[in-house]
Amino acid sequence: MMKMKATGALAAAAAAVLALSACGSGGGSAEAGKGEISYWLWDANQLPAYQQCADDFTKANPDITVKITQRGWDDYWSTLTNGFVGGTAPDVFTNHLGRYGELAENKQLLAIDDAVAKDKVDLSAYNEGLADLWVGQDGKRYGLPKDWDTIGLFYNKDMLTAAGISEDQMKDLTWNPEDGGSYEKVIAHLTVDKAGKRGDEPGFDKNNVQVYGLGLNGGGDSSGQTEWSYLTNTTGWSHTDKNPWGTHYNYDDPKFQESMQWFAGLADKGYMPKLETTVGASMADTFAAGKSAINAHGSWMIGQYTGYKGIQVGIAPTPVGPEGKRASMFNGLADSIWAGTKKKDASIKWVEYLASSACQDVVASKAVVFPALKASSDKAAAAFQAKGVDVTAFTEHVKNKTTFLYPITDNTAKVKGIMEPAMDAVVSGKAPVSSLTAANEQVNALFK
């Protein structure tokens, strides 16, 4: 028995050594333009669209095949990091604005400027600003845009009807940090307590709420992408001194803290669930369970919200702020190439194909996300319309240029590590908004 174990262990050790040495020698020419390339993405909803792109790509380039692996968001980045270190990272992968700065700085991404110039990729065909996001601090391009998202208000149509609020009213909401504008009035009116009293009626019991006017996703950590940035950024405030590649965060700005004060106050008034009650079931699911009337959420959630059975969902644009404009965070993904790829030429071909109308039209036709190309975006909007979903609330942000970019800086993971508990404390009412000033100092110390 023991002997078998020993030889087994030796065999395993030998195999490990072989595997390790194989990493170093295998792969052949570094410039290989054929063979199998690996591609990773995290959104399972988009897998069918990209699988079709891969099949079409192989049809056009018979000597290249693409092996797609989908991994959930939670595992995606740690597995990718392990791959960079262990030499098993995919040739091409879906990249996020919040992550790529650090990857580029650590020389894990392949700059593709030469290829983009040589193959004459038309960067102006993408929705405005998307292509520029992927130029790093060193001025080099590390990805080609694949899609974008904005924020909108998903609402329960039946609850609106019951409250006597028209869908047109929803399209013209206003907001300000002092009294919340018509946005707060609508939220208050949509809130109903267990006795059936509405949030703006006398005798409303804020401790026994049946339906909240506004759902809550979480504290929003550093970006507040779907939670509060669509409000805070209508006041002229922005996360950082400049974007991309800011080096100073602004959570200490009184304008911001005033907005957060209003936001946290909603829970106090009983119009929004307390943060502690939102740990667990997702905001979308509690909306489907009839616990909230309006949810501010991203365009990537359209499929989920409109997919719930028995609930009529409408989508309104985010409210107009004190400066007379709406605001939505504009986030975009891109496909990047790993610097350690053994099949550089084939990978570049695939990335350019993913960024071309051939693939983005396929993605558009599946009506799951908005592709980065302007023409393909319109096709996606039409595909959503054909499914009976009006997505103007999301597209008009882009059309009217009321978007602002996801804050791209160094140290994003550490900033999030500091701001997550700090924001939770504020939104749950455990700490005053002024506590954000100390957190902001901690954040800015990272950039010194």
Binding site: M2, A9, N106, G280
Partner: protein
């Protein structure tokens, strides 16, 4: 020892050689065989424990973001940790968890073991007690995460029917740690009970007979006979479960992720956050080394003061 006396004649003939004999020929083959038997465990130990531990200690003196090269910075990480409120918070939170978890788990497991020993003799019932332990930590945590959900969890539905206010088991700072301590108590008590049960079975029956003859009450028998004779097993169980309890991670990682605010940012989760999420492997390693020292100290104190390596049966 026997090898030394195996060849008495040579000792008389050549006293100088016997000196060598004592050390070499007799033992050499033993060493070889011993090494052969030890090798599988040794390879595993060196590869998966010793090397990572030594490397971890080395990394704790460096600044290392895994994609670059480690850079030696001496004691800087440790100095920063001493001033890091989140580190001290993680110690306090972990301590709270360990006390709740161990106190409940050991008490309940002891009770269960006594029941298994004296009442529930059916293998099916004894086996059923172990069922939660057969479930993966993550599944157990997620199962309870859903059942205890504030909005749509079944437990809160029952609480409401009973006329009590709903409780944010995972969301409130007061409840988050007790909830997780209870979940892991639920999962581990069957296994702990099994260990204690094995200890109970090793207590000879005649001591109980004598106690009975002397007219000892059930409580007296338990206090004066069961507990003292069970002590070595109890100490072992405590050392193992306390170490395990200090390392709570998976339950936190799949449910609260350190929140609300910092209420469940236990030490292992904080290490993970610093090292893997924020790519600060040097800092994470330094906290891991500190945790290692704490656990070594705790285990030492337990063994020393509870005399875990002595038995009153001798």
């Amino acid at each position: 020892m026997t090898t030394l006396t195996r060849n008495p004649s040579s000792r008389e003939q050549n006293p100088k050689r016997t000196l060598l004999n004592r050390k070499l020929p007799g033992t050499r083959s033993d060493v070889r065989i011993a090494l052969f038997f030890i090798a599988p465990a040794m390879i595993g130990f060196v590869l998966f424990y010793l090397v990572p531990t030594v490397r971890g200690i080395y990394l704790s003196f460096t600044e290392y973001n895994i994609l670059g090269d480690p850079e030696w910075i001496g004691l800087e990480n440790y100095q920063a940790i001493a001033k890091d409120p989140l580190f001290w918070n993680s110690l306090a939170v972990t301590g709270q968890y360990v006390v709740l978890n161990i106190a409940l788990q050991t008490t309940l497991a002891l009770g269960l073991a006594l029941l298994m020993h004296q009442v529930a003799k059916s293998t099916i019932i004894r086996g059923a007690l172990l069922l939660p332990y057969l479930m993966s930590n993550v599944i157990a945590a997620l199962l309870w995460f859903w059942m205890l959900d504030y909005q749509i969890g079944v437990v809160n539905q029952f609480i409401e029917w009973a006329g009590l206010p709903r409780a944010a088991f995972f969301g409130s700072e007061e409840w988050a740690i007790p909830t997780q301590a209870l979940i892991n108590t639920w999962r581990h008590m069957g296994y702990t009970a099994l260990l204690i049960f094995a200890g109970l079975q090793s207590i000879p029956g005649h001591v109980y007979e004598v106690a009975k003859l002397d007219g000892a009450s059930a409580w007296q028998t338990f206090r004066k006979i069961t507990i003292p004779l069970l002590r070595p097993v109890l100490v072992l169980v405590l050392v193992v479960t306390v170490i395990g309890s200090f390392q709570v991670f998976d339950t936190v990682a799949v449910t609260t992720g350190g929140g609300p605010v910092n209420a469940t940012r236990v030490i292992q989760y904080y290490i993970y956050q610093r090292a893997f999420t924020e790519s600060d492997f040097g800092y994470g390693s330094a906290i891991a080394v500190i945790l290692f020292l704490i656990l070594a100290l705790v285990a030492f104190i337990q063994m020393k003061f509870l005399k875990g390596n002595e038995s009153d049966l001798d």
